[in-house]
Amino acid sequence: MIVIESLTKRYESMTAVDDVSMVVERNSITVVVGTSGSGKSTLLRMINRLIEPTSGRVLIDGRDTESEAGHVLRRRIGYVIQGHGLFPHRTVAENIGTVPRLLGWEESRIRTRTAQLLGALQLDPGQYSEKYPHQLSGGQQQRVGVARALAAEPAVLLMDEPFGALDPIIREKAQDDLLDIQRKFGTTIVLVTHDIDEAFRLGDRVAVMSAGRLIQYDRPEVLVTRPADALVARMTGSAERAMRLLSLTTAGEAALPFSACEAAADGVVVPTSASLREVLSELLWRGSECATVLDADGTPCGRLTVASIMARGRPS
């Protein structure tokens, strides 16, 4: 758990972060979203003290981050930045082993961990360990950047626009991978982005910042249904807020008890992981009223009707 208390960063002419307080739950993904200059990156970098706050404090699992030297603190916190920042003169394996080496791990343990991480990120260790960053594609570089940040098993992972340099198709895949990794390692992730869609896709909770202030910090559906001010409303897109709300719920969560759809000769079937937005879109496309939800084994486990989906697209 990360507790941020009245964190403020003032420069000579401006206040970058103005009295921000928030609590980041364990094992969750918190996304800080805002325009450039909103102070979101500064806030992130004050958590690992790359920037020293003017006032306020940060507690990680109850421990004040000021209680140890900055570089020692940073070795316990994963950090991923836009454009990955991989060391061009070191191999993939050496890059990933950076923090473990700083912490004095034994070489055999570093090797095991490196192979494990590469495997988890779908990079064959035998093929990629000895490559240099410039020999990898953008998506692969980004994954190595994540592996490097996770190498020393940090409880907290900070990510600053981690997918900003990727093209849209690779970005979506990288976002899915991140969700997988978060589930697998149970890491507490704080991610900064200017992309509200990314925030909604990834965030268990979303914090909206503007001009250094924290405007609203809540679950994404609350941001849509009860925006704190006009800015949040505009960001979450008032014209398509119903759709955004639907995108936050999966078919599995919303499924009605199973009974066969009427007139379902070429019935619409959807996986449990599909969002209601996707299901509705598919129903509209096929001109159907009802979809069958299939679980991972492909057996029907529920059903969704247009009416039941519509009921989910309104603030409750």
Partner: protein, 401 residues
């Protein structure tokens, strides 16, 4: 010494053979120059002693008939290859054969013209010899440029050249050539001068690296001070070397006179001390400027990632920033080393020693051979340093990034 030009950094793209109607343009020019040198200018100068101006001789006059014929035949073949053949290795082979024949012709001429056991007469290379050497050297340079050798091959070629030249000198093949006559008289002084020359250039370079590297890092970290530091060093760079030696004589002399310790460690107004200080000052700008440029080249994201992962500032500097800046810094060091090897020659004027002793001694005595005895090894030294460091820089850059 243009023969060695090819060993320097190779150009970004090799020039394609420029052939017009089957005739290589560069080959035509070089053939013209070489032939003009051979036919119109004296190949050697024969002098009764080392000071008097000699009478000149052409290649045909100085060699035995069969030797002259062989020489002419070889050079004609080289010219034909230069004009008509596009294959680079073949052109290189021809140029090297031409160079060997030219060198042997010089040695042969010297042997033929020198009466047995005569140590007074001098047979010096003439303008024709130098022109021929230059055009053959350019031909070899061009051929190697077209072959685009890697850094390792270039160092190997340098070693081969130095080895062959050294072997020929050790075997006494050129003993009757004027410059080697001069060497025979000055062998002990030559060894001393070589040692001084290398020590002065490397010593001032070492001191400069120790000061300039941290200064460059400092300038990088404090960009506000950068223009001031760099322009101060720039001003030093504009002072002519003799003037700087002169400027330093007064304060160092005063230091030696008033501080016994300074005098005890060898600091004087003349001699090695002002030379080292001046070379040190000249060395600062290229190393500081290249350190700044090299560090600027390191991506900010890389530095931020290093710090973000918990490297200390020192660790980031040593294992990331400086490592990535190294090729650019080494380029600066290469500039300084080559520059210093040249400038040390001037230091002889204030008693600094080195090969300049021969150059200025030779000028004073109007003895061209003595000037060459100082000049040739200086050039060889500078070129060798350039080739080695260029190869090192390229090697480092070839490893990522």
């Amino acid at each position: 010494m243009s023969t060695l030009g090819f060993l320097l950094r190779r150009p970004a793209s090799a020039r394609d053979t420029e052939a017009v109607a089957g005739i290589d343009r560069l080959g035509a020019l070089l053939t013209l120059v070489g032939a003009a040198g051979l036919l119109l200018l004296p190949f050697v100068a024969f002098k009764a002693n080392r000071i008097v101006p000699g009478d000149t001789r052409g290649l045909v006059e100085v060699l035995p008939t069969w030797g002259a014929l062989g020489c002419w035949a070889t050079l004609a073949t080289v010219a034909a290859v230069a004009l008509l053949v596009a294959n680079a290795p073949l052109r290189l082979g021809a140029a090297l054969a031409g160079l060997v024949v030219t060198a042997m012709a010089l040695a042969g001429a010297a042997n033929a013209l020198t009466p047995p056991h005569d140590l007074i007469v001098r047979v010096a290379p003439g303008a024709g010899f130098w022109l021929l050497l230059a055009s053959l050297g350019l031909l070899a340079t061009d051929a190697i440029t077209r072959m685009r050798p890697g850094p390792g091959v270039r160092v190997l070629l340098l070693a081969l050249f130095l080895g062959l030249a050294g072997l020929a000198l050790a075997r006494g093949i050129f003993d009757n050539v004027s410059v080697m006559r001069e060497y025979a008289v000055n062998a002990a002084a030559f060894a001393l001068a070589a040692r001084q020359h290398i020590l002065l250039s490397l010593g001032s370079l070492g001191a400069a690296v120790i000061v300039a590297l941290p200064l460059g890092v400092f300038c990088h970290r404090a960009p506000r001070l950068q223009p001031g530091v760099l322009s101060a060093l720039n001003i030093i760079q504009t002072i002519p070397s003799i003037a700087l030696f002169g400027i330093l004589m007064a304060p160092l002399g005063a230091l030696a006179a008033h501080v016994p310790l300074a005098a005890a460690v060898g600091i004087r107004g003349i001699g090695a001390a002002p030379a080292v200080v001046a070379l040190f000052l000249y060395s600062l700008l290229p190393i500081v400027a290249n350190t700044v440029a090299g560090l600027k080249r390191v991506s900010p994201a890389t530095v931020e990632a290093a710090l973000g992962m918990g490297m200390t500032r020192w660790q980031t500097l040593m294992s990331v920033e400086l490592v990535l800046a190294l090729p650019v810094i080494l380029t600066g060091i290469r500039i300084v080393l080559v520059q210093n090897i040249g400038l040390v020659t001037v230091a002889a004027l204030i008693g600094g020693g080195g090969f300049g002793t021969f150059v200025f001694g030779g000028i004073g005595q109007a003895a061209t051979d003595l000037v060459l005895l100082g000049a040739i090894p200086t050039v060889v030294l500078a070129f060798s340093a350039a080739v080695l460091l260029d190869a090192l820089v390229e090697r480092l850059e070839r490893v990522p990034p």
